[in-house]
């Protein structure tokens, strides 16, 4: 029984389980990129048919990253990570605190890099010379003298082995941050017409709306364009009010959110509430031929004076086909099918609808917008960022700080001084060359 239990814990804290879990997580995550997530039931039924839809539903594949089995995998992964790290950390800490500093014969045999030089000169002088040489590269050594033998111990990158544990801890921290966000945060949206204020956030996932204890007003929404007509910026100028008092004026653009009292607002969409255009109408034919008048048009059909014809504005472009600002009008004449045509500001003489009884000239255009803001509350986000910074720190330590250790033993051996140098580094291949160089340098020393 005890053996079984040990085996179980051993398995749960093993690196092989980690490798398998990482591969399983990678493989299963693919599913959610192939099956669209969080769609409507009808869409799935259309796309996959009834049988497959049933299968998908049973396995929660419509929202697989929050499904019971995916969360189970993530939990198992986290448990594996924590157990494995806890199991291995104490010996590592012990090694950092009390490294083997004395190059015993036994230690020497276990190290693949070691060599002994025999030289003339006193051990004391040799020890000092080697110490001076190696200190330049590896810092001040620990020294000790036991019987007639002197020992030196150099160590660089002492803490590099902690990098892995910092990395692993950071993963746990990021997960904690994610959980806090999931349980104590929300995501919603709020649409505010220009000039109006709102405090009710509509939440995703069919939850009851959230009432903010302050009010946000959209003073102005502005679209600006590049010369070639692409949108350059969506901007909302907003004011935050508390108890009717203005407390903050700011603006939002994409990539410049606004945070107030733990809620963050993002520019995410916009829409037109109503359109107004002013045009001058010239009557080209019919009983009123020759008449001309100014007219206000909206996005609902408006009667053209002295007639049974109607017109409305359906779209406005800041730069249509590189001719500059233009509006698209829709006209219904004599009860016929409505016809769409553009009216350009910069081409006042071009008649884009020659069949019509009327000719329109662009005078003004005005649109009123609402701005669409996404609103989120995520108290876990700072924990996630802390975890990310820790992770980079940990990875840097794991990969770029290399632990290097060098032992030296010097003693008088009959006529000569025996100098034994041994080295160890987990990145052995790179260190081999370095070690060979050290030996070469020592050989060149004169004492």
């Amino acid at each position: 029984m005890a053996i079984k239990k040990d085996k179980f814990w051993g398995f749960l804290s093993s690196v092989s389980l980690a490798v398998v879990l990482l591969i399983v997580l990678a493989a299963t995550s693919i599913i959610g990129t192939l099956i669209p997530q969080n769609g409507s039931y009808e869409e799935y039924l259309n796309q996959f048919g009834p049988v497959f839809t049933k299968v998908i539903e049973t396995l929660d594949l419509f929202d697989m990253y929050h499904s019971w089995w995916f969360i189970f995998l993530l939990t198992l992964f986290t448990v594996n990570l924590i157990l494995c790290s806890l199991k291995r950390l104490p010996p590592v800490l012990e090694q950092i605190k009390n490294p083997k500093k004395i190059l015993t014969e036994e230690l020497e045999r276990s190290l693949s890099l070691s060599d002994t030089l025999r030289k003339k000169g006193s051990p004391e002088r040799w020890k000092e010379a080697v110490k001076e040489l190696l200190s330049k590269r590896y810092g001040t050594p620990d020294g000790e003298k036991i019987d007639d033998k002197s020992y030196l111990y150099f160590e660089k990158g002492k803490y590099s082995r902690l990098g892995v544990y910092i990395t692993h801890l950071s993963i746990v921290i990021i997960m904690i941050g994610g959980l806090i966000g999931a349980f104590f945060g929300f995501r919603g949206f709020i649409n505010i017409p220009e000039g109006s204020a709102a405090n009710q956030v509509f939440l995703r996932g069919g939850r009851a709306p959230y009432n903010m204890d302050f009010v946000i007003r959209c003073d102005k929404f502005t679209l600006s364009y590049y010369p070639m007509g692409m949108v350059k910026e969506y901007r909302s100028d907003v004011t935050i009010l508390e108890n009717g008092r203005e407390v903050k004026k700011d603006y939002l653009i994409v990539n410049r959110p606004l945070t107030y009292r733990g809620l963050t607002f993002y520019q995410s969409s916009y829409g037109v509430i109503d359109r107004h255009a002013k045009v001058r109408v010239f009557v080209k034919s019919g009983p009123n031929k020759g008449k001309s008048f100014e007219m206000d048009i909206t996005d609902k059909f408006v009667n053209i004076p002295f007639s049974g014809d109607y017109v409305k504005v359906i779209e406005h472009y800041p730069n249509l086909e590189n001719f500059g600002p233009a509006m698209i009008l829709q006209i219904a004449e004599d009860g016929a099918m409505p016809v769409n045509f553009p009216v350009y500001k910069n081409l006042p003489d071009n008649d884009m609808n020659p069949q019509s009884k009327y000719f329109f000239k662009y005078l003004e255009n005005e649109e009123h917008y609402y701005t669409g803001l996404q609103v989120t509350k995520d108290p876990g986000v700072w924990i996630v960022w802390t975890g990310c910074i820790m992770m980079m720190f940990g990875l840097y330590y794991s990969f770029f700080v290399v632990r290097k250790r060098i032992w030296v033993r010097v003693f008088f051996e009959g006529e000569r001084t025996a100098i034994t140098v041994a080295g160890h580094s987990p990145r052995s291949r790179m260190f081999e060359e370095e070690f060979a160089k050290i030996l070469e340098d020592i050989k060149q020393l004169n004492v």
Partner: protein, 287 residues
């Protein structure tokens, strides 16, 4: 302005051909072992790298001349070019460090294909376009630089792993190593290069995912939303994490680790191109 536009485009097209010739020379070198060919491969790669550097810098300057100044890292074309640039740089560093040109025949094809695809695919626009609002963020620059640097390191690792698998297969069957294979670096060296390239790529990919998350949080208010591109970058990350741990596990070293590196690069390609071309999501390079 017209004439300088001409120049950056021209330099980058020349680069495509120079890398292509470098690849051909490396392959001839592997087959014939003629040292001149190897040297030509290196010379062309170095030349390609410098010409490409010029092209990228000019493209940056030109975007300012057009009044929409932004780093040349913001659409599919530019990211492919940047990938090739990083790949060539990292490859050259490894070639000089390990003094072995055989890897060129396995790495240059990735670089060459990236440049050729960028230059000749009808789906890819080479124009310098202004940035839509969502892309106007410094995070984008950090995100793209770190991701593509990582991808380039993984391409090198993948090339080396393919060599490892080929060599290992012969060795396992106890077959005589052919003339060519015996000139490959030793299995241990290949394994070492593979690890080093991934040891560069993995932290970079991690930084790439983090900067991407930071950007998403700024632009859309959510650092992680399981959009297909994000998910595939996480899949890639899992695969390379598996690779790193495989080294500490009996039975997973050597051949299986090499396969993980190859699969990892496959995941990179899906993340990078597959998601844009086949799946939908927030990332708008393809459209």
């Amino acid at each position: 302005m017209e004439s300088s536009l001409f120049i950056s485009g021209k330099l980058l097209s020349i680069t495509t051909f120079v890398y292509f010739f470098a690849m051909v020379f490396y392959i001839i070198y592997v087959v014939s072992k003629g040292n001149t060919m190897g040297l030509l491969g290196t010379i062309f790669t170095v030349a390609g790298f410098f010409i490409e550097t010029g092209g990228l810098v000019l493209r940056w300057v030109e975007s300012y001349q057009m009044g929409i100044g932004r780093a040349p890292l913001t659409n599919l074309y530019e990211s492919l070019v940047f990938f090739a640039w990083c790949g060539a740089g990292i490859y050259l560093a490894f070639e000089f460090y390990y003094k072995n040109k055989f890897m060129g025949a396995f790495v240059l094809p990735f670089i060459s294909i990236a440049m050729a695809y960028a230059s000749f695919s009808p789906n890819i626009s080479q124009e310098i376009q202004p940035l839509v609002p969502a892309l106007q963020s410094n995070w984008l620059i950090y995100h793209v630089i770190t991701c593509f640097f990582a991808y380039a390191a993984f391409a090198v690792a993948c090339g080396v792993s393919i060599m490892y698998v080929i060599k290992n297969r012969k060795e396992e069957k106890k077959q005589q190593l052919g003339n060519i294979l015996s000139f490959f670096p030793s299995s241990a060296t290949l394994d070492d290069i593979n690890y080093k390239a991934i040891a560069i790529g993995f932290p970079m990919l991690t930084l790439g995912i983090i900067t991407g998350a930071a950007w998403a949080n700024y632009a859309w208010g959510s650092y992680w939303s399981w959009d297909p591109k994000e998910t595939w970058s996480l899949i890639t990350w899992f695969v390379y994490a598996a690779f790193l741990h495989a080294r500490f596990t009996r039975g997973w070293r050597g051949k299986r680790a090499a396969w993980l590196s190859i699969i990892g690069f496959f995941a990179v390609i899906v993340t990078y191109l597959g998601v844009n071309l086949l799946l939908s999501g927030l990332h708008s390079y393809a459209s």
